[in-house]
Symmetry: C2
Subunit: 357 residues, 2 copies
């Protein structure tokens, strides 16, 4: 099979983790006779530096012609003074909107080999395997009106959803839940305060009627922030609106032990968008300290979802488990006082995975 991939390396550690993912993809392609064609495109701070905009028109137009888009990370402290609409992150939000994917899938998994890396006790995390389905194109991120009125010394943002927007993302979450062993869906909202959430809960209950085999529960976002830490194993698929998903999926990164391990896939639009959960980490950029596993697992999700290459995707995921069990660790997952660990840099971690796939 052949995949044309928009390569949006972005800022900070973006380019170096993307490079390792490309190496792994190439290795997979060589073994299986698949060809991956990459189209490197500028986004984020890199777009601002080269063209004065975080999403150059060329990037968007070319990405729209691709089969999938693989993104590293965007953001740099040097742009902190810019308004939200001009920052690197605006490029990310715009490409999310234009590619159209509204369901952001974020697995949070407890790896046995990393049991010591989580601040949570082993007996709490053991066996945890959660799939977040975060709505990605609605809510406060995109809601209008939005403004910081410097004359009036007042700012506002709008949380807004239509029932159709809730329905389509709920349906994706239920489809996923229906295929998983536990068949459980937890929908998160703040229905005791927000009208948006009340509607969200109503629509989720409606969609639930179509999935009699899936168990549904509703949790308030504040309680859920606790439950994810005290009993992560009780959750299976977790459905959230945009901002709640941003917060809770990051929080759940502590189940795995490092943000650097976490992949994501955004589906449902014109071109699926694949991005690791971690940020651009400008403080460690270019030093070989970044963990490429999050991006490599993101590439695996791309092979599975956009390429239909389940075996190859599983192969990468198994290779990650093997490398971790053999003790290889980038700095973010190196634990003190644990024997049998081998410190490696970004490139060596990538090479180890290339050798195994």
């Amino acid at each position: 099979m052949h995949l044309r991939i928009a390569l949006l390396a972005g800022d900070g550690i973006g380019p170096e983790v993307i490079q390792e993912a490309v190496n792994v993809l190439d290795a997979v392609g060589e073994v299986g006779g698949h060809t991956f064609e990459y189209m490197p495109l500028l986004i984020g701070g890199a777009g601002i530096d080269a063209h004065g905009t975080p999403l150059p028109n060329e990037t968007l137009q070319k990405a729209l012609t691709c089969d999938a888009a693989l993104l590293g990370a965007v953001g740099d402290n040097k742009f902190n003074k810019l308004a939200p609409s001009e920052r690197p992150e605006a490029g990310l939000l715009k490409i999310r909107a234009e590619l159209g994917g509204f369901a952001n899938l974020r697995p949070a998994i407890a790896y046995k080999a990393l049991a010591n890396n989580s601040p949570l006790r082993h007996e709490i995390t053991e066996g945890a395997d959660i799939m977040f389905v975060r709505e990605l194109l609605g809510g406060l991120y995109f809601g209008e009106p939005r403004l910081w009125d410097k004359q009036l010394r007042r700012a506002h943002n709008t949380m807004v959803y239509t029932q159709d927007e809730v329905e389509r993302v709920a349906r994706i979450a239920f489809d996923i839940a229906a295929k998983r062993p536990k068949k459980k869906l937890t929908s998160v909202d703040k229905a005791n305060v927000l009208e948006c959430s009340q509607m969200w809960r109503f629509v989720v209950d409606q969609v639930a009627n179509e999935y009699p085999n899936v168990t549904v529960e509703h949790q308030l976002v504040d309680s859920m922030a606790i439950h994810l830490m005290t009993r992560p194993r009780d959750f299976d698929v977790v459905l959230t609106e945009n901002l709640f998903g941003d917060i809770l999926s990051d929080e759940s990164g502590v189940i795995t032990g490092s943000l650097g391990m976490l992949p994501s896939a955004t589906v449902g639009g014109k071109v699926n968008l694949y991005e690791p959960i971690h940020g651009s980490a400008p403080d460690i950029a270019g030093q070989g300290k970044a963990n490429p596993i999050g991006t490599i697992l993101t590439a695996a999700m791309m092979l599975r979802i956009s390429g239909g290459l389940e075996t190859e995707a599983k192969g990468i995921e198994d290779a990650v488990v093997q490398v971790l069990e053999a003790g290889y660790r980038t700095p973010d997952i190196l634990s003190r006082n644990v024997d049998g660990q081998h410190a490696v840099d970004t490139q060596l971690m990538g090479r180890l995975l290339v050798d195994l796939v």
Copy 2:
């Protein structure tokens, strides 16, 4: 000294935990010659049941004449079908607004005796002592317009702040930070996406200029959800807008180990409002299973802040530590496989504390 206290027991476990707090207050009063006068008032589901409204007018009018208000909890599943504006929680939000306190202080402390109760490892939580300052009258909770338009099949809420609203809560947070040993303030926002947050950050930086001795940092809400779990000891005073504070302070409950332990105080308005963090827990109401410590520590905050009784407040807090160290545990803080624990019910826990203050 004399305090007139509006007693808003509310729903579920509210009445039983309030009763224990009253018993402790009376004991403190007797020892020190202080008199506490209680005015029991209906709120939440109790208000709906008796008068068809979650905040009966009499409750509000009388509470406004008191020196302080002590609230148990509101909410019951039987009202889940009502619109947010008619639910028990609406009574809570309305009394918060009318009493006018905008700074909700929520300590999250790691008790040595409860080290095994947290899902977090002991070495992570040891010594953690965070004071959240949550803005309580702004943001999505109160923002207009807000509507679920069933015709248009669309819902929206408004996140809104004025610079003055940010400034006044920031000033309270800085005042608190300036008096604590670490003198550090962490302000939480989502400034890479929201205009509200961008303004928030700007105002916090302005206020910071008045407090040269306080170290300030800004964290994004998603990253903060991680940091609070991986390095809680690095935080001192944490300043947030309303919803972020709701989520993060609940999440930080896992540092202590049980929501049932956590107090709060809301200051800055006409009448200070004191309420534990936990909810009404209707599933365990009336069974003696509720932990009264959160409410009793809330009463301690009331003595300190509204009564100026620092010694008495500290006395209650020390008594709580003693009772925990002696091994007494309500069900929520009873851990398996730990020796020397004595299971107690709500009433016995209250009595033990009465005996110590």
